[in-house]
């Protein structure tokens, strides 16, 4: 395959285009339609949240955007080119939890994707330091994951996703295992990092409040088969504040999502 | 279900293939048939051995020793295991000692059993008991500790009596672990008794196998090996089958 750097992108860096994507899981007994005819456009620099009940295929869709899984039909392009396999220069991925390597320190974890590509030690260290500083973990680089709190571990994961400076950051329920308070703080932190870096973010969550609080756009999905049932624009001003949570605008957006989810449950 | 059948068929095929290779190696003379009699010869020898009164007697002797040692080691070990698991202080004192006793090789104490008990029935049972008891204690302790505190709290909050708690919470939670313990203990026990018989004895199937080996009677020796292996595997599979039947308790 040709190196991606030589392809002139048709779309600007950070754009995601999903066209008529379907995914069928074959089991020994039957075929399960995980996704059916999903189409979606994400403009560069947008914060898009995928929300929906279990089994609606939101994580599957994210894995396909990351090149970790191939769709059965349809096309997905990231920055204008298809993504047949993971490409950390175009896409960074942050997982739910425990995806840090326990035998590496925080900074070694952040350096990991660079080490895979043979970046020199000093260069690696410098870039890892920058990424850790960005997520607010300056000075914690020498610690091992088990010496960090849940929120700090997720900061390290975000730093690892950003260390190669990809235009797109995909996040698969990154805060699901955190407690409520930490979750709120991490949400604000993520918005700060997003504003500072201008990345395109696609964020999967179960939490309606989290979805509305973080997003520019919320994509609501429903299961059996997995498909998009609504696409909301969240026009709440930024920076988002805690007070907005109790406002009418916030409430009506959340209600609209909830009605979709209740219908499909 | 179909793939399950396929896996079973493949396993049977592997075993058959191994026997076929054994047969071919011996028949074609690639391996000296005096050192490796063919599989078919070995199996027919096995059939013939099972007809012999002396071999049957040896099997009976070994079985008696194994069962006696097992019948002594399991209740005694289980009782000690319970006491340790139920008393925190006692557990803290005894556990490292038991772990130590558990981790050291038991076989090297075999000569001591001969010095004390001679080479008869009691020595085999004694050594079988000694080989088994530590694993029984350890497994019982593990089994008791595998009972979930939440389940006990629920039982208590609904006013369960100690007897009800024992039968409705402890026993069902512990059953899978106990079955596993039974299986492993039997492996240890059988190994202990057979080793003791091979080392110094006048009868028993282990003694017979050692004698065949010393006299270079390969057919009988291999037949004996196949026989013991078959018995051990059959017992093991039986307990495992029961285990899987009640595996839904396990979380």
């Amino acid at each position: 395959m040709q190196p991606l750097a030589n392809i002139t992108p048709l779309k600007p860096a950070g754009a995601i285009e999903v066209r008529n994507v379907g995914q069928i899981f074959k089991t020994t007994t039957q075929d399960v339609v995980a996704l059916e005819d999903v189409s979606l456009d994400v403009r560069p620099g947008r914060f898009v949240v995928l929300v929906g009940p279990s089994g609606c295929g939101k994580s599957t869709l994210l894995m396909m955007m990351a090149g970790l899984r191939q769709q059965t039909s349809g096309t997905i392009t990231i920055s204008g080119a298809p993504i047949p396999e993971p490409d950390p220069n175009r896409v960074g991925v942050v997982f739910q939890e425990a995806s840090l390597f326990p035998w590496l320190t925080a900074e070694e974890n952040v350096e990991f994707p660079l080490a895979l590509r043979g970046v020199t030690k000093s260069d690696r260290r410098a870039r890892a330091q920058d990424a850790l500083k960005l997520v607010g973990l300056d000075g914690f680089g020498k610690r091992h994951p088990h010496e960090l709190s849940g929120g700090m571990k997720q900061r390290v994961s975000i730093a690892r996703g950003l260390v190669q400076d990809p235009p797109v950051l995909l996040m698969d329920e990154p805060f699901a295992a955190l407690d409520e308070q930490t979750r709120m703080t991490m949400g604000d932190e993520l918005l700060r990092i997003w504003a500072a870096t201008g990345k395109t973010v696609v964020f999967v969550t179960h939490s309606l409040t989290e979805a509305v609080y973080l997003a520019d756009e919320v994509i609501v999905m429903s299961p059996r088969p997995g498909r998009i049932v609504d696409h909301l624009q969240v026009s709440l001003p930024r920076p988002r504040t805690y007070e907005m949570l109790s406002g009418d605008a916030f409430g009506s957006l959340r209600d609209r999502i909830w009605r979709h989810i209740r219908k499909s449950a | 279900m179909q793939s399950g059948l396929a896996v079973k068929a493949a396993r049977v095929a592997i075993v058959v293939a191994l026997f076929a290779i054994w047969e071919i190696l011996s028949r074609t003379g690639i391996v000296n048939p005096r050192l490796l009699p063919s599989a078919s010869d070995t199996l027919s020898t096995l059939g013939e051995l099972l007809q012999r009164a002396s071999v049957r007697k040896d099997l009976a002797v070994t079985a008696t020793e194994v069962v006696t040692a097992f019948a002594l080691a399991v209740p005694v070990g289980a009782l000690i295991g319970f006491l340790i698991a139920e008393n925190r202080y006692f557990a803290e004192v005894a556990k490292p000692l038991l772990f130590f006793a558990f981790s050291i090789p038991k076989s090297i104490f075999l000569p001591m059993f001969i010095l004390v008990f001679g080479v008869g029935f009691s020595q085999k049972v004694g050594f079988g008991f000694f080989s088994t008891i530590f694993i029984v204690i350890m497994s019982t302790t593990t089994a008791v500790e595998s009972v979930k505190v939440e389940h006990l709290t629920v039982a208590r909050s609904y006013g369960a009596t100690p007897v009800q708690t024992a039968f409705r919470v402890y026993l069902p939670s512990m059953l899978p672990v106990l079955l596993e313990a039974l299986r492993i203990s039997m492996i240890f026990n059988l190994t202990g008794v057979i080793l003791a018989e091979m080392y110094a004895s006048r009868d028993g199937i282990g003694h017979q196998i050692a004698t065949w080996g010393e006299n270079f009677q390969m057919k009988q020796l291999l037949a004996g090996v196949v026989m013991i292996a078959a018995i051990a595997i059959a017992f093991n599979e039986l307990v495992r089958w029961v285990e899987t039947r009640c595996s839904h308790w396990r979380t």
């Binding site: 990351a66 970790l68 993971p86 490409d87 950390p88 991925v93 425990a98 390597f101 326990p102 035998w103 990991f112 994707p113 895979l116 088990h146 | 896996v7 396993r11 592997i14 050192l35 803290e92 004192v93 490292p96 558990f102 981790s103 090789p105 076989s107 090297i108 104490f109 075999l110 000569p111 001591m112 001969i114 010095l115 080989s131 694993i135 350890m138 313990a181 492993i184 492996i187 240890f188 059988l190 190994t191 057979i194 091979m198 080392y199 282990g206 196998i209 050692a210 080996g213 010393e214 270079f216 020796l221 291999l222 090996v225 013991i228 051990a232 595997i233 093991n236 899987t244 595996s247 396990r250």
Partner: protein, 266 residues
């Protein structure tokens, strides 16, 4: 009194009883020679024991290389490939139920009563648990770690070297501990059964002439060997303690290998 203190007292008490009971004549010297006479017996024949120890250690070292090398290699292959794993693992763990000591006479017929038969027997004796533990260790690696590595573009060989091997180390080490202990047992037991050299041979020879102190001196030597080996592996395990979290907690690999099954059988 703290548990640790009581435990120490019990240990010292047992050692003291070992000296006092035989001396006072409560236990015949034939059954249990006193600690001092055991040590004296060992000291007086230090040359003989030293030579026997060298033979035994030589056999242990070679068997260990075979058992652990083969066990780790095969366990890694079987553990990382789902099809062979489903097919073979239950068969291997059935094999584990067989008292393998019955194979030793076969090896003596094939290889004679020298070191070769001991090495062959001990290698097979230690091989199974090492293989089972390695396969289980590879299997319990958190799939999230592999997925994360893949998302960062790690190739198959990079995943093996940077994720699978480091994550499997703790389980492999515990397999080594059991496998190594079984190798020691295998060598000594085979020496006890039929041989002409080694500590096991000395124990058996002194046993036939009812020389209890010399039997016990040999037993103590083997014990020391087993304990030293155990301590060495534990030390390495502690060094690698940080790895412990690399596998999903509480996963016991679909009941294929219970932890207790990985302990030395006699």
């Amino acid at each position: 009194m703290s548990a640790a203190t009581l435990r120490r007292l019990i240990v010292f008490g047992l050692i003291a009883l070992w000296e006092i009971l035989p001396r006072a004549g409560f236990i015949p010297e034939l059954f249990l020679p006193s600690l001092s006479s055991t040590l004296a017996a060992g000291w007086n024949e230090a040359g003989e024991y030293g030579h026997a120890l060298a033979v035994t250690l030589y056999e242990v070292a070679i068997s260990m290389a075979f058992a652990c090398g083969g066990g780790i290699l095969l366990g890694a292959i079987v553990g990382s490939l789902p099809r062979p794993r489903i097919l073979i693992m239950p068969m291997v763990s059935s094999l584990y139920a067989v008292p393998l000591v019955i194979l030793y006479p076969v090896f003596t017929v094939w290889l004679g009563i020298g070191s070769e038969s001991k090495i062959a027997f001990a290698s097979i004796y230690g091989f199974l648990p090492t293989m089972l533990a390695t396969a289980a260790g590879i299997q319990t690696i958190d799939p999230q770690l592999l997925l994360a590595a893949r998302s960062m573009g790690a190739t198959l060989s990079q995943r093996l070297v940077r994720v699978i091997i480091p994550a499997a180390i703790p389980t492999v080490l515990s397999g080594l501990r059991v496998g190594g202990a079984l190798v020691i047992v295998g060598v000594v037991v085979s020496e006890m059964l039929i041989s002409s050299a080694g500590i096991g041979y000395l124990i058996s020879r002194y046993r036939t002439i009812l020389d209890s102190p010399h039997v016990f001196a040999g037993v103590l030597l083997v014990l020391a060997m087993a304990i030293a080996f155990n301590a060495a592996i534990k030390w390495i395990e502690r060094k690698a303690a940080i790895w412990q979290t690399g596998t999903r907690a509480g996963q016991d690999s679909a009941g294929e290998v219970a932890p207790a099954a990985l302990q030395p059988a006699t």
